[in-house]
Symmetry: D4
Subunit: 251 residues, 8 copies
């Protein structure tokens, strides 16, 4: 029940076309269910501008299309993450305004480009070339949520001069996402150079004692810089989402 519906109901009570008893019945169940629905509505309007997000993995192309069709009735932008090239091909056949980003495994429906709402630029830095899919997922997520974004890839700590050549852009970023596998050392180094908040994304890139990203995850949790927080292994989407909420804090 949204505000309009609530006002209409109360007007009906006020003008006598709805009895107090009936209104009471309608409203006394405005409990969790209705608050629930109201919550959803309110929530949706809060979220509006970057649409809901479909986790593509484990869903068929048909299921994804069905959900997208329901959502695009109300939303201008829909983001589908972790969707394979195969499935994306099927989806593109049925959904207009859609683009598939192969390396990020992301499909975006965008009737109109999202308005920029974030304070500054969200910078996504990745340590190695293998980390790029996760990095691009972050970048595209932040972008469809209404932020200016930029990516700097393959600037890991083993050749740290590569990182320093981008110092100015790094210093000026509003929020920085740092994506790294293996030893996960890059976020510490980047965070030590800037004042902006850094979201660290461990990736499962590596072998042996990288243990599917545990090594990078632990490295980031123990970062000796303080302006860092960490998301789950390979969670590029979450980092992009978190960065977007941060970039819109002051707005």
């Amino acid at each position: 029940m949204n505000q309009d519906q609530l006002t209409r109901l109360l007007n009906q009570v006020a003008d006598g076309t709805l009895s107090v008893e009936n209104a009471c019945n309608d409203l006394k169940h405005l409990s969790f269910e209705d608050i629930g629905h109201a919550h959803v509505d309110h929530h949706r309007s809060l979220r509006k501008g970057f649409g809901e997000v479909i986790f593509g993995q484990g869903k068929t192309a048909a299921q994804i299309i069905e959900i997208m069709q329901k959502m695009t009735a109300h939303e201008d932008v829909v983001l589908v993450t972790r969707i394979s090239e195969d499935k994306a091909g099927h989806v593109l056949d049925h959904m207009p305004f859609s683009t598939y980003h192969e390396d990020a495994r992301v499909l975006i429906y965008e009737k109109t480009p999202p308005a920029i709402k974030g304070a500054g630029e969200i910078l996504v830095i990745s340590a190695g070339t293998s980390d790029i899919p996760v990095a691009k997922e972050s970048l595209l997520t932040a972008q469809v949520m209404g932020n200016r974004v930029h990516g700097i890839f393959d600037v890991g700590v083993a050749g740290i001069h590569r990182l320093f050549s981008h110092m100015e852009r790094i210093r000026n970023a509003s929020v920085i996402i740092v994506v790294a596998g293996m030893e996960g050392a890059l976020p510490s180094v980047v965070a030590g150079m800037v004042r902006a908040p850094v979201i660290a994304v461990p990736t499962s890139i590596g072998y042996g004692a990288s243990f599917g990203g545990i090594s990078a995850l632990l490295g980031m949790l123990n970062a000796c810089s303080s302006n860092i927080a960490v998301v789950n292994i390979d969670n590029g989407f979450g980092a992009g989402y978190m960065a977007a909420t941060i970039n819109q804090v002051g707005t």
Copy 2:
């Protein structure tokens, strides 16, 4: 080497008082040191306003006093974390303008109160009473860094109605820090209710299979809400610091 020094050197080459060879030598060693020193200076000025932070654990009262005396020559606010009551007593005997916060194990030197620089209110929520020391460390850190802060303690998920009674404050917060031990479920629930970024702090509170905070840490990394990022176990200071940098993103 700053711009002035560089210009002077080039002028010396231009007027012949410095040979190309010698200039070449000077410049080819234009190395990290000088950039380094520039970095330090710039870094300091960036950090200015909330002072440096002393990790009290493992330092003697005398060492802490010595560092504080050096810092207070330049800083109006100095934060000492993880300092025991005993040591704090000694420090308070020698440092004016200082207060000890026993439950947060934090000592703050504050010649003048920090100006408010953050966009909105940083809200610190803790699940249980045992999580309060970590929560207060977050709260005080964010406060001395120039933010309005508020704490809501003991509103864990086992009696979730307690959380809901603070819904309005939660919805209006600029950044939320959620501190929880045991199963670490609270950040998911809170983040599901708001648009603001949530910093989750696992604590070592619990026993048995809590494994000193691992259980809470994993719970938070796997949170099904997307506006969450996580810091190290018991790292209240880091969460407060990160929240402060976030709250000042749009400013």
Copy 3:
């Protein structure tokens, strides 16, 4: 050795047809076997009413059919768990009275529906849509064991209002099974709202630091509510079985 055999032996001693020495030998080896067999019989009669359970995984369709044919000579209800659609097709071709539940990977032979023996309704709640297979396995297990069951799916903590809209049903349940992956926070929240015992089932749903269900498992073991106990990861069957035994405690 049952009471009749024992009396006969003692009578033989009393009337001299069995020497003390031989009787002594017989009795001193009155061993576990006989008690064992008695145990089996008694055990079977205790279990009677909901049939034995076949773990389908790792068995061929032919093996499953053979076991079912032996069992259906004595049992009205036979439950097969973790059986793939392929194998189930073969079984259905040979076994009457059988139904395959694809999403729960469960096949049920049911000559006559089981009588309701449980005290109240067993409620199965799942956090996400991916947890539904495990949840349905719980639900069907409890049902064939003679209990009224109901399922509420996709009410995870990231949108906790969805859970609250079912408050009345939750409050009235006799036993509640809560199925969740990722951070496994839902059982704590549900258990905090009710007096009934809650069986928590961690699932392997998630990625990265969910570590195949370890994160959810630890979360549930550390739940800050006290009316919770936990079963193995993805063990929907065990939770349904445990709930059924609980629901029949007072009967």
Copy 4:
């Protein structure tokens, strides 16, 4: 907001003493707080009869006394767990009707003995003598919550005949709590012998590869019997509480 308040509000709208706009404001914030408070009250009445529980560890004797004094104004029975002998001595000096159970580290205030509400007997079985403190915590918790209880201690699997000598009592129990450290094998064996639900409690008893109870915990989670669910390591209180809720399911 209860039904009376809602009816009054709607009547005010109907008779014009409250504007639609103001009513709309009141109702649109008909939020979780009020439902929350209602929840608290209802919750308390549900819990009534066995009192609230104080986790003694980490609290001073003075704090415990203060909480007990507040609680005993409304409750006839108060349970304090994990309280050392020292603290308990102080509490006993100030609280009447109180008894300290040294081996269970439990203190119980009991103005009148709790009425028996559970369906049958809750049986607590422990594997070794070192597991007795945890077992007794279970036993006393279930007892103060209004259940008939009985304990059988030191009947571990290394001499399984000791267990079998109690077969009749085991078979007749309504709910069984099995407490074991080291390899945690006892719950499987017990559950294989009975139809009743079994709550398994791993303890931290052991050394080397027992890893503070992890070995026992894993053993219990992987029990090959199905009528078992597990609580946290050393969580005797939780097992007793869970058993009590189970024993009262059919009532």
Copy 5:
């Protein structure tokens, strides 16, 4: 009920002084309880010669003395493991025929030396000097159980020639116990040189990534020799006991 008691009962039935009905009652409860007791007796006689074993850790000197006094009524040898020097002093004051082995933390009551029952010599080899306490616990356990024993200490793999200087004794041993911490490599090397069964005992000696003996434990479980089996970390007693049972297999 032992064989004598059983014979007496049957004789009473044979001579009519006990009715079949009464004998039946006595015997029909010759169930687990009595089998239990018979089991114990039989078990004791099987174990006879090396006495029962008291785990001293966590027991007071008074408790240990009480148990020893009960046992020494029937046993010539009693072994107490993990008993500190302090407690041992008290015990020695009250128990004759007793000796304390400080480095093994073992106290032995020995009225008459145990007869040698084992086939050959049990050899105990330790890698480092810090492993000696565990090694000596093995050695003394095997000795009091009636075996010839010999110890070779401090022959770790870092100076493998030290091991080889004892080749003949190693080759001739009946059973070999190898005790090692850190990387736990010694059992593999020893087992590769001999045909005898090797019991490997990981110790908690080490630091850092030895993880309290996990490293040594894993090394031993993965030994590339096949005549090896492993006991728990620091379980010198168990290794000695197992070796004694092995050494008496052919006897």
Copy 6:
């Protein structure tokens, strides 16, 4: 350098055809190589009677055949473990006297049956039907090494009476191998009933928190019986080999 070569050399010194200096050079390098070769020979003769063992996994059928052909020149019995049905088919086509045991994944070449050398019967007990492959690998290994063997399968602790019906055989066994997955409780129970040494084999059977056999492994390492030692997960071969060496200790 064997004894013949050594004698020849010394004779050459004695008769002057080899100078002391040259002999000295030859002999001073009489180092590990020669001892090494002597070791090999000696080792082989020690091992003789049960042949060497080929780990089939990771080898092609052709490679296995080649190794077998070399070995069967000297050996009457050759054991190949972990060999798939496919590869075994190829091997059987080329090797006479060979049999493939499908469920144990073992291929045995046996020109003449091995003479019985072990003291008594080696008993292999498995908890579940899924553990049978590992159990049979143990059984066949012990058998080809010259031992009488017997298997009792599917007698897990969830229905412990099944185990007790075999009490006499269990009590009479010389060495017992117990194979179990999931919670790994069976070895404790068996070892508590007998005096013989027990080799415990954890299997990777299970799901969820069985963690590929870790749960069973830990359970066995923490067994509260003392006559137990453990081998690696799924290491049926190793257990059979170890049992064989134990069974031949007294011989």
Copy 7:
């Protein structure tokens, strides 16, 4: 910017063809970018002689060929690691001077053989035949980097005499790489015999409690010899690279 370019610029300033202001602009950005580029150049020349290294895994044959073509413009030797036979076939079709080493999964482009720069021989020792691929990767890496290399394979600790037969070569090696899976004991033994530095490489060879190489890794980290350092699991390339840098320390 290299030295030539820098000299040219300064000459232009000296002869007035470049203004101080413009030179200043060019040089003031001779910051990280240019240092970066200079670093690369300098770095390359330092590395020269063994070329850059391409991690083949995750790259297509086409991508590898493209990178190789760019590199072979400047380099005489190019190393590609972790490249499958399939991909290597494609590469060999397009790249001259190239050889594929199937067992090491390494492809080497070598226009002219690398000059020997290392001090002595790098010896690569592997414990088992399954460790050979990793060992050969080490060996080939060290070889293309300009070192004399030698391999001794299949000399694990279960038959330690095999190792000793190579004592002289082992004692004379400049650097030793020891590759082992399972219990990872070989490096300790080897390092105990020599003065040279030993690089230990754990492999993922093993099963059960080898946990994909963790067991070997921990064994090596806890080695009781001091002249050992460890690289990541299966990191043959890293060990070869590290050994090469060590072998060239004194040169």
Copy 8:
């Protein structure tokens, strides 16, 4: 048996005072013992120059003094590691030429300063001030083994410019030891800048998810630079020893 003894024996054979048979017997038992003793001697002479090393932890002052007195009969330099200030005081009272280094917990007996044998300078870099004890243990170990050493402390990655200010010294080092706790990122960064081999030492410095050094250890094992190898957590001595052997490779 040394060369003299061997020559004498062969002379006796040559002159007929020893029969071939007796000589053969003497020599055929020229087994590991004698090789062992020869090994020891040879080994000692190889090690000569930096003395043996005493691990002080777990030894009494008296034991340390006794060992030192035996060693100083033959050695000019003796190193004692992990010795507390208390014990060191006692040792200094009895041993001349000795110095205690409090922060490294190292005591050095040095009659004459060790001759410099290493090729270049061994540089020890530590990330934080808390890592200094481990770093100094490395430094002193390398120094007493005859190497030029230098330490740069507190140059962690959170302020990476501090590291760069020492670039020249870092580039010129022969071997570099990098000591770091927390995320352990520093070795990657340092190794990326240099050609020299880098020994990485993880420390147990940190809290929460640093897990006593596991986080740093994993970070270092996964370093994306290739000229790195790792030693055990807090093993400063081992790193210094390894670096010394490396620094003397080319000599």
